[in-house]
């Protein structure tokens, strides 16, 4: 009996230990204290002194890690520095490296299994593997980015090659997987993925649906070519924002309100486009407006927040060459945002329209093999994409088709080909390496003049006191009216892009009279100054308005003031809409339509100082009212059913359009189609306030209770890459709200991914932070060590030693010597 019991126990335990059970990883390998997950505690901190042989190095590389976990790399050549960088990033972020690259290459299923099949198929249908393979194969090994990517890959693979079992990152243990070798082409995939994050959004098809529903004039007013509030990136000489409001604002066209009235249509739950989903800020102040007389620069890129961070901080020093510090994406050699001894820089996303659709005529609606161009049938490039699983099994096979423009996709019953500037980039990431070498603003501007995508607003300052900003990237030139917010006829080559905007036409300013430059994803240039087409439907410029307002008001800016600006709790959006809400309540009162609820709501809102501090107890009411507003105003817009059974509009106008419409108080748009009465602006704003108050009472309790505290009502969330709650930082109370300079949108998953202030004085000084920490190892103190300070809006002083001896010994945590392998 005991024999049988022992056999059963041994068999079951051996199976669970080797294979796992259900979602549990193989318990033997997982719990094994010598090399299993517990061993991560042993590898959480680096040895105080260590030496490693690294293949490919031409000379020894010394790496000093400081108390913030930032490696300072002292190398004899750029190639050695990139090689060391690959090694260090792999050491700290190996799983992240692989995961984000697989997301772009459509091979997530090989790591995560069938759950990732649809994501992989989508990545392949977008043409990412097609573009990366084609682009990489076209380059020879002398190209700068190829040399850098190869050196970087060697470094990554050196780490993987000598990876001890105890050092295997936690995520691989959970997934029962091993790291894949890193390929130079993976750096290309990384930049494709960044292009997807920053420049894929295109609402052309949705805008066409709106046009079909409400008419061309109305659709153009709702999603206009130019922002109705002009505070451009390139200064336009004005001392305040300019309102370019349409008068009259075009009403809905085809569908009269009368015809809709009484229609049995449930009022849709409108979910506005997440505010500032990838909004970013940067600004630079000339010496004449700073207290110390040195130029100051702030970088504040906002991205989806993750643990570990999307950024990796590093300092690369090459004897007689680059000496640059800042952040880069794991997988990208060099520094993307940061500073060297002479120059500091940062980016925001331009949000330009760089992706176009072409309706193609194909030979077979189901399985096209050819497309018609200028009366001639052309063969489609066919690419069979096989998505494989963890054991190499086939999970899906798709044929992806390409015209000369790009990938062909089926949408709305027609075949559309896409052209996208991100696919035009021949040497993605190379320009960042050139920026690392710049000594002056001019060299910096020259360094990325050929940059393709995704278009960025780059600010720069140098130690000579010069400042500049330029929106850089390839902006397509299109035939006809030049606009990209339409589906063009693919059967004619006359529809194709005719070239790209010359550099001289890029939005640009250098050393302006106003003494500062700022960008916050607003329309980059005043159309009166530069009529070229850059895009449509720009983000509401609330952050730009606030930023310019604060910078105008301070003629003696300090680094501390720059830091405080990054988490400024004020809101131009609140300044614009609170008076409308309060005015509407008063108007209702005067018209005899007031009630206790509205009076109470208005009184509470009037108490608000229009800031989003964590302790504020009135911002929550304003946000509830603003959330109620779109459903009341935009009920004429076409909707589509969501998977949760609710109807949502296919596209909602920006709130700046709402403000523009507010100048036309009796416009038909204000009328709610479900009610027999004809509403005007004030009735709608009053109703929004009333509803917002009711929702706030329902969700947060009475106004005098703690539930209205902003920190309790609104949170930031930073998820682990695999969205494992236990490894995430959730429900973080942060200062800021929708459209403040530190925007905290609805879902709370985006935010300031890197905050940096640099003073380009005689000795360059920098302060910076990102949420999370340098290490991807959850046992490390550097997994989350920066979070509390980031949450509080604080910055760390950044060490930038000119040589190893300059790094204070008390702040050195580990020294690593990388030696050439003979």
């Amino acid at each position: 009996m005991r024999l049988l019991l022992a056999a059963v126990v041994l068999a079951v335990l051996s199976y669970v230990a080797a294979r796992g059970a259900g979602a549990a990883p193989p318990l033997g390998r997982f719990l094994d204290p010598a090399n299993g997950v517990w061993a991560l505690a042993r590898t959480a901190e680096f040895p105080a002194r260590s030496e490693v042989r690294l293949p490919g190095l031409t000379a020894p590389v010394r790496v000093l890690s400081d108390d913030r976990g930032v490696p300072h790399v002292f190398a004899a050549s750029e190639a050695d520095a990139w090689r060391a960088q690959g090694y260090l990033v792999a050491r700290d972020r190996l799983f992240q490296l692989e995961l984000q690259t697989r997301a772009a290459s459509g091979t997530l299923s090989e790591l995560l299994g069938p759950r990732a099949v649809e994501a992989d198929r989508a990545a392949r249908r977008r043409g990412f593997p097609w573009a990366a393979e084609r682009g990489f194969a076209a380059l020879d090994s002398s190209v700068l980015i190829v040399r850098a990517a190869r050196a970087y890959a060697e470094g990554v693979n050196s780490w993987i090659g000598q990876l001890r079992r105890a050092e295997l990152p936690f995520e691989y243990r959970l997934l029962h997987a091993r790291p894949a070798p890193w390929r130079p082409i993976d750096t290309f995939y990384l930049f494709l993925q960044m292009g997807y994050t920053l420049a894929w959004d295109d609402e052309t098809l949705n805008k066409l649906r709106v046009r079909d529903a409400v008419g061309a004039a109305a659709a153009e007013a709702l999603f206009p070519l130019n922002s109705p509030i002009q505070e451009p990136i390139q200064p336009n000489g004005q001392r305040s924002p300019r309102a370019d409001f349409l008068r009259p604002f075009p009403p809905p066209g085809f569908l009269s309100t009368e015809s809709l009235r009484g229609r049995d249509a449930a009022e849709a739950i409108f979910s506005p486009r997440p505010l500032d989903a990838i909004g970013s800020n940067n600004w630079v102040v000339a010496p004449g407006r700073t207290a110390a007389g040195y130029a100051l620069l702030a970088g504040d890129p906002h991205l989806e927040l993750s643990l570990p961070s999307v950024w990796y901080e590093i300092h690369l020093h090459v004897a007689g060459g680059i000496d640059v510090a800042g952040v880069t994406f794991p997988g990208a050699p060099g520094v993307v945002i940061g500073f060297n001894r002479e120059v500091a820089w940062s980016f925001t996303n331009t949000g330009a329209d760089v992706r176009d659709h072409y309706a193609e005529v194909v030979d077979d609606a189901a399985r096209p093999a050819r497309y018609r161009l200028d009366g001639v049938w052309k063969p489609l490039e066919l690419r069979v994409e096989t998505v494989r699983g963890r054991r190499g099994e086939t999970l899906a096979v798709d044929t992806v088709r390409f015209t000369h423009r790009g990938p062909l996709v089926r949408a709305g019953g027609q075949w559309l080909s896409l052209r996208w500037t991100v696919f035009e980039a021949k040497t993605p990431g190379e320009e960042f390496l050139r920026l690392d070498r710049a000594h002056t603003v001019q060299e910096w501007l020259d360094g990325w003049k050929d940059y393709v995508a995704a278009a960025q607003n780059g600010v720069v300052a140098d130690r000579a006191g010069s400042i500049a900003i330029r929106s850089t990237g390839w902006f397509p030139l299109r035939p006809g009216d030049g606009r990209g917010d339409e589906v063009r006829d693919g059967s004619s080559s006359a529809s194709d892009w005719t070239g790209f905007l010359p550099l001289a036409a890029y939005p640009f300013a250098r050393d302006p009279a106003q003494g500062y430059l700022a960008s916050a994803n607003q329309q980059p240039v005043d159309p009166r100054a530069n009529p070229h087409y850059f895009g449509v439907n720009w983000y509401s410029p609330w952050r730009a308005l606030r930023l310019n307002q604060l910078l105008r008001a301070d003629s003696a800016v300090t680094p501390e003031a720059m830091r405080k600006l990054q988490t400024d709790p004020g809101s131009a959006r609140a300044d614009a809409f609170v008076p409308l809400l309060l005015g509407a309540a008063q108007a209702s009162e005067r018209a005899g339509q007031g009630d206790t609820l509205l009076r109470h709501a208005a009184a509470l809102l009037a108490e608000w100082n229009r800031t989003y501090t964590r302790e504020n107890t009135r911002a929550v009411l304003f946000e509830a009212a603003m959330t109620a507003l779109p459903s009341l105003v935009w009920d004429e817009l076409p909707q589509e059913m969501q998977s949760d059974g609710t109807a949502r509009p296919v596209l909602l106008p920006e709130e700046a359009i709402l403000l523009e419409l507010a100048a036309d108080s009796t416009n038909t748009w204000w009328d709610r189609r479900r009610t027999p009465a004809v509403e005007h602006r004030d009735a709608i704003f009053a109703e929004a306030l009333r509803r917002g108050y009711l929702h706030t009472l329902r969700d947060h309790g009475p106004p005098e209770g703690a539930g209205w505290r902003w920190a309790d009502a609104h949170h930031a969330n930073i998820f682990h890459l695999l969205r494992i709650p236990g490894l995430s930082a959730l429900n973080l109370a942060v200062q800021g709200g929708p459209s403040t300079l530190a925007p905290s949108p609805g879902r709370g998953t985006h935010g300031a991914s890197w905050r940096m202030v640099v003073e380009t004085g005689p000795v360059l000084r920098a302060w910076a932070i990102y949420p999370g920490g340098q290490s991807g190892n959850p046992a490390s103190a550097r997994y989350l060590d920066r979070l509390a300070r980031w949450q509080a809006g604080q910055l760390d002083s950044v060490l930038f030693p000119a040589n190893p001896q300059d790094l204070p010994a008390a702040r050195v945590r580990a020294t690593l010597l990388l030696s050439p392998r003979p």
Binding site: A6, L10, A17, R29, P33, A34, A41, R42, A781
Partner: protein
């Protein structure tokens, strides 16, 4: 005395074998079960020694960097459907059961095969 030394030898074997991987625990225990040294409750000793061996590994890591160990334990406890004490217990129970079952199985099989010849080691 001899029994104690035998136990210590087994413990040392488990500690060292753990470096090879979890599978070394049942392998060493199987040898132990086959050998059946004259120690107190040899099968229970195998289980205890295996648990102790893994416990020593964990203790060494804890003493080397208590902060890292605590952070890891806290986060593992949040990730896995087990609180930290349960996870630690599982980390000791797994080798114990593997060792006991392997030793008992081999010991039993050896008895079945050897007893007819009168071997009663």
């Amino acid at each position: 005395m001899r029994s104690g030394l035998g136990f210590l030898a087994l413990l040392a074997a488990f500690v060292l074998a753990s470096w090879l991987g979890w599978w070394a625990i049942p392998a060493v225990a199987a040898l132990w079960g086959f050998w059946r040294p004259a120690v107190w409750r040899p099968l229970l000793s195998a289980a205890l020694a295996a648990a102790l061996a893994w416990g020593i590994w964990l203790l060494v890591d804890f003493l080397a960097d208590p902060g890292a160990f605590a952070r890891l334990g806290r986060r593992l406890g949040a990730v896995l459907p087990l609180p930290l004490p349960g996870l630690l217990l599982l980390s000791l129970l797994l080798p114990a059961l593997l060792a006991w079952s392997a030793a008992a199985l081999v010991c039993g099989l050896a008895n079945v095969r050897l007893t007819p010849e009168g071997d009663n080691r």
